[in-house]
């Protein structure tokens, strides 16, 4: 048995790093264990073809609160943005794309009708007001519904007050839309198919939902909240890829006194006298800690690292039923030159390009995933980070990082066949929007949800560590019994995206977990 720590953080994803740093800043003795050779979890930059680098998981930064960036002094520790306030470019194979910025002020879009322009302005203002509620919700430790402690009551009251401050009209509107589906809401508000398709894409990316599925306004609100935080940078791109964000976090952690160990895979959480007492590494080494904080997803944490024998059947059943099957695939392309997208100026190719031409197209792409089948016409989010950041590829070459929504975790046709088919259909879609792109592809890598599961150790390959929906949100995320970052096993905490407020590179689960541990004792 080596030296003893107050907190052992399992997993050096961005949330683990944030949590560890905030604890160490308050004088706690913290050890962070990462199984890979570099920290970062799914927010890493890695080579996928000789000379070509890409953000392996998340590729855009839009949810990290500026406040947290400042608090962790990430810029001092090397964080640079290569682009900020990237516009959304909704591609159209038959004509000019729709370019708009969902959040920032100014001309809301090109080629939008006057009524749609007005509607977008108003929608933005309204969503920003709701986002103020959600911002508080996201950065609050969920209260226990039994209100067992004063902190529970305070947190509940703060949120109630923030909702009250919306005023009657907005409260009514929030109640009206919160449980709606994105399709109905967007149809209510807009006429432009390209605009609705693009906003619908945001409402469904990473959710196991089509735009007509209930609860998709919630996912849209959750995303919007990150985008519209005060003083934020909109949709941004990290210089050097996402890995540079987590590298800066790692430097902040080390500076705060966190001991960071990479290449240290935790095999088990040790339990003594009904309390998490440390961890055992794959190497056999055991490390003692007063508490263990898991950045791993809930299923991995409870079913693999802790083990069902230390948990009750009811709880294990809830964890088992927790929906965490990924449905987003990621395609990386090494390109010999910058592809030309129809109607898109070269610099706009550095924006966030969407292939989601309409809500119908989005729903149609979603439908097959219900039956574990692949979409015929996939909907995509395309970024070409090299437009703003030449360091990621050899001179003159480019990288495309593409999210493919609605790819089932366990396709009926099997993984090998699914891989080939998806690569083919995505390139067909790309070819329609950027003729000749296929010929520029020098190398490629396709990560299916199961590949994401394997590479990042996320059970189910869901990079939000579980679907975000009403039943897996706030006071019920991930599952009742583990909703306060604390878990049924005393001394064990969650700090990853499986905890509130969920996925996206926000650092908030890690921050909230640290708050919870500091405020209410470990």
């Amino acid at each position: 048995m080596s030296e003893r720590f107050q907190h052992i953080v399992i997993g050096g994803g961005h949330n683990g790093l944030v949590c560890a740093t905030l604890l160490a800043r308050r004088g706690r003795k913290v050890l962070l264990l990462e199984s890979a050779d570099q920290v970062g979890g799914a927010a890493i930059t890695r080579e996928f073809a000789p000379g070509f680098q890409v953000s392996a998981g998340a590729h855009l930064l839009h949810a990290l609160p500026a406040e947290l960036t400042r608090e962790l002094q990430l810029e001092r520790h090397g964080l640079r943005l290569s682009a900020r306030s990237l516009p959304t470019v909704s591609l159209n194979p038959d004509g000019a794309p729709l370019v708009f910025d969902a959040v920032t002020a100014g001309a809301p879009g090109e080629r939008l009708s006057a009524p749609d322009q007005r509607a977008l302005m108003e929608f933005r203002r309204q969503m920003a007001r709701f986002a103020r509620v959600f911002d508080l919700v996201q950065s609050t430790v969920p209260f226990r519904l039994g209100m067992e402690g004063s902190r529970d009551r305070i947190n509940a009251l703060k949120i109630a007050l923030r909702i009250r401050l919306l005023g009657k009209r907005d409260m009514r509107e929030l109640l009206r839309i919160a449980g709606m589906n994105a399709y109905d809401l967007l149809e209510d508000v807009f006429t432009s198919e390209a605009l609705k398709g693009a906003l619908g894409f945001d409402a469904t990316l990473g959710a196991e939902h089509g735009p007509r599925s209930p609860g998709t306004v919630l996912t849209l609100l959750a995303r919007w909240t990150g985008l519209s935080r005060d003083g934020n940078h909109g949709v941004a791109q990290v210089a050097g890829g996402m890995g540079q964000l987590t590298q800066s976090m790692a430097r902040a952690a080390t500076a705060a006194g966190v001991q960071v160990r990479t290449g240290a895979r935790v095999e088990r959480v040790l339990v003594e006298n009904d309390r998490a007492s440390g961890v055992r590494l794959q190497s056999g080494e055991t490390i003692a800690g007063d508490s263990v904080i898991s950045n791993a997803d809930p299923k991995t944490t409870f079913l693999k690292l802790v083990g069902a024998e230390y948990l009750d059947t009811d709880f294990v059943r809830r964890v088992d039923h927790y929906r965490a099957k990924g449905n987003v695939a990621k395609l990386h392309l090494a390109l010999d030159s910058l592809p030309e997208f129809r109607g898109v100026e070269a610099i706009r190719a550095g924006g966030r390009m969407l292939v989601s031409p309409s809500l119908e197209a989005l729903e149609t792409a979603f439908n097959p995933s219900k039956y574990r089948q692949l979409p015929d016409a996939p909907v995509l989010e395309i970024t070409i980070p090299t437009v703003h950041d030449a360091s990621l590829a050899p001179p003159g070459k480019h990288v495309a990082s593409i999210l493919v929504n609605f790819v089932p975790y366990d396709p009926q046709i099997g993984l090998a066949e699914a891989r080939a088919q998806l690569q083919r259909t995505v390139l067909e879609v790309l070819e329609r929007h950027a003729p000749g792109i296929g010929k520029r592809v020098h190398a490629s890598e396709l990560l299916l949800p199961q590949d994401i599961e394997r590479e990042f150790g996320m059970a189910g390959g869901h990079w939000h560590h579980g679907a975000l929906s009403f039943d897996q949100f706030f006071v019920t995320r991930p599952v009742p019994g583990a909703t306060q970052y604390a878990t049924p096993l005393p001394g064990l905490y969650l700090c990853g995206a499986g905890a509130h407020p969920g996925g996206g590179v926000s650092g908030l689960p890690g921050r909230n977990a640290a708050l919870r541990i500091l405020e209410q004792g470990a």
Binding site: V271, D274, L303, G307, A308, E309, Y310, L311, D312, T313, D314, F315, V316, R317, D320, G481, P488
Partner: protein
């Protein structure tokens, strides 16, 4: 994890016994059904876990006295049975139930309960350790979903084997003598909660010294094809030992005297409660002797540790009541005036053997520990006339009736 709900060979027997389509005959029958029906004088049936079983063969009193004075045969087949096997079987059961399975030796049986995460009772039953890695769990209610969900994370196979095993309880002072008479050599040496493997002709017959009567008695387990032969041999050999088939009602009398609890009578499974606070914990049922808080984690342990520290909100007490009228469903008060209601009767009986008016009563805190005397409001229905009387009651030892013969080794012959 691996689930197999096996269709037993008895399915064929049932198909033969009646040619009506199954949906017109939803109740199953056990392999002993024709033998039971032949002995039934009253044709009263009662449903049990989807089976038709006999409520009363001739008269409840005669059947009851067979349990206490000679030997009684009760068809136990509908008892739900699961086979639990695999390298993690012991660990699995230890997490599932409240008792320490590691202490249960091969060929031993244990009565146990199991709880959900709130420490609320899900069911009670018996665990038979058939081998190092193989157990049989007999339950009052069907539990497959709970057992399978409990198996997440364990290497264990769970199969329902209710239809694959025919079972009879043989209970009463002459039960051992009858077993010896059908050739079970050495059966008298079984201790309480022992089980032994015997043969009945070519067939394997498992005998456990267990039962629901609090008397000397055994439970016999055999493949369904051997059921009728077993029945016939017992009744042939039992002629001189006063053997008698008994129904559910007589057994219920004996189990109250023995102080045994019955699901849906004395407690209700947390899986079925709809109203708040209708669930019950093992401590509330007076079953702390079943709860091994020191064995490591098990379902409900954290809640039970908290309850132990906090104190239970009620408790099942064995009580005796003045008079002879069984206090079925009575409310209990702190004083004769009936001002403060402090509990209620769950099971009640005029005990023919003890000659006492006994009951199992759920009494609220703090009265279960502070009061030495309660008042029970008994309603009496005589010739279409309701009458009520307030009777004095007081806590007594449980069980109400515990003859030495139930424990004696070697077991006696009468």
């Amino acid at each position: 994890m691996n689930a197999a709900r096996s269709a037993g060979p008895t399915a064929n027997l049932q198909a033969q016994s009646n040619e009506r389509p199954h949906y017109q005959r939803p109740q199953l029958t056990t392999p002993f059904f024709e033998r039971s029906q032949f002995l039934s004088e009253t044709d009263t049936y009662v449903g049990w876990s989807g089976y038709s079983t006999i409520d009363v063969f001739s008269s409840v009193e005669q059947e009851y006295f067979a349990i206490r004075n000679s030997a009684a045969v009760f068809d136990l087949t509908p008892m739900v049975k699961y086979r639990i096997a695999g390298p993690d079987a012991e660990r699995y059961l230890n997490r599932l139930i409240t008792r320490d399975v590691a202490k249960l030796k091969v060929n031993r049986v244990a009565y146990t309960v199991w709880c959900n995460e709130n420490g609320h009772l899900v069911d009670d039953g018996t665990v038979f350790r058939v081998g190092k890695d193989e157990f049989r769990l007999c339950t009052a209610e069907r539990q497959l979903d709970w057992l399978l969900d409990s198996a997440i994370g364990f290497q264990v196979e769970i199969g329902e084997v209710t239809e694959q095993i025919a079972a009879l309880a043989l209970q009463g002072p002459t039960s051992c003598a009858i077993l010896k008479a059908i050739g079970l050599v050495g059966v008298e040496n079984l201790k309480m909660f022992d089980m032994g493997q015997f043969r009945l002709g070519e067939r394997a017959l498992m005998v456990s010294r267990t039962g629901f009567t609090g008397d000397l008695g055994y439970e016999l387990w055999i493949e369904p094809e051997g059921a009728v032969e077993l029945w016939d041999k017992l009744f042939e050999a039992g002629k001189l030992f006063g053997i008698r088939a008994i129904g559910y009602q007589a057994l219920d009398m004996a189990r109250i005297e023995a102080g045994f609890i019955l699901p849906n009578v004395d407690f209700i499974s947390a899986a079925h409660t709809i109203r708040l606070n209708r669930e019950t914990t093992p401590f509330e049922m007076g079953l702390e002797w079943l709860v091994a808080l020191d064995k490591g984690h098990f379902n409900g342990r954290r809640a039970l540790v908290a309850e132990k520290a906090r104190g239970s909100k009620c408790r099942l007490l064995a009580i005796e009541i003045n008079g002879k009228k069984p206090a079925h469903g009575s409310l209990i008060y702190d004083g004769e005036k009936g001002l403060v209601e402090i509990g209620e009767i769950k099971s009640a009986l005029w005990s023919p053997t003890c000659k006492r008016n006994i009951a199992l009563a759920m009494i609220q805190a703090p009265y279960f520990s502070t009061l030495k005397e309660f008042w029970v409001d008994i309603y009496v229905h005589r010739e279409l006339h309701w009458d009520r009387r307030m009777e004095r009651a007081w806590p007594v030892e449980r069980p109400f009736f515990a003859p030495d013969r139930r424990k004696a080794v070697p077991a006696g012959d009468r």
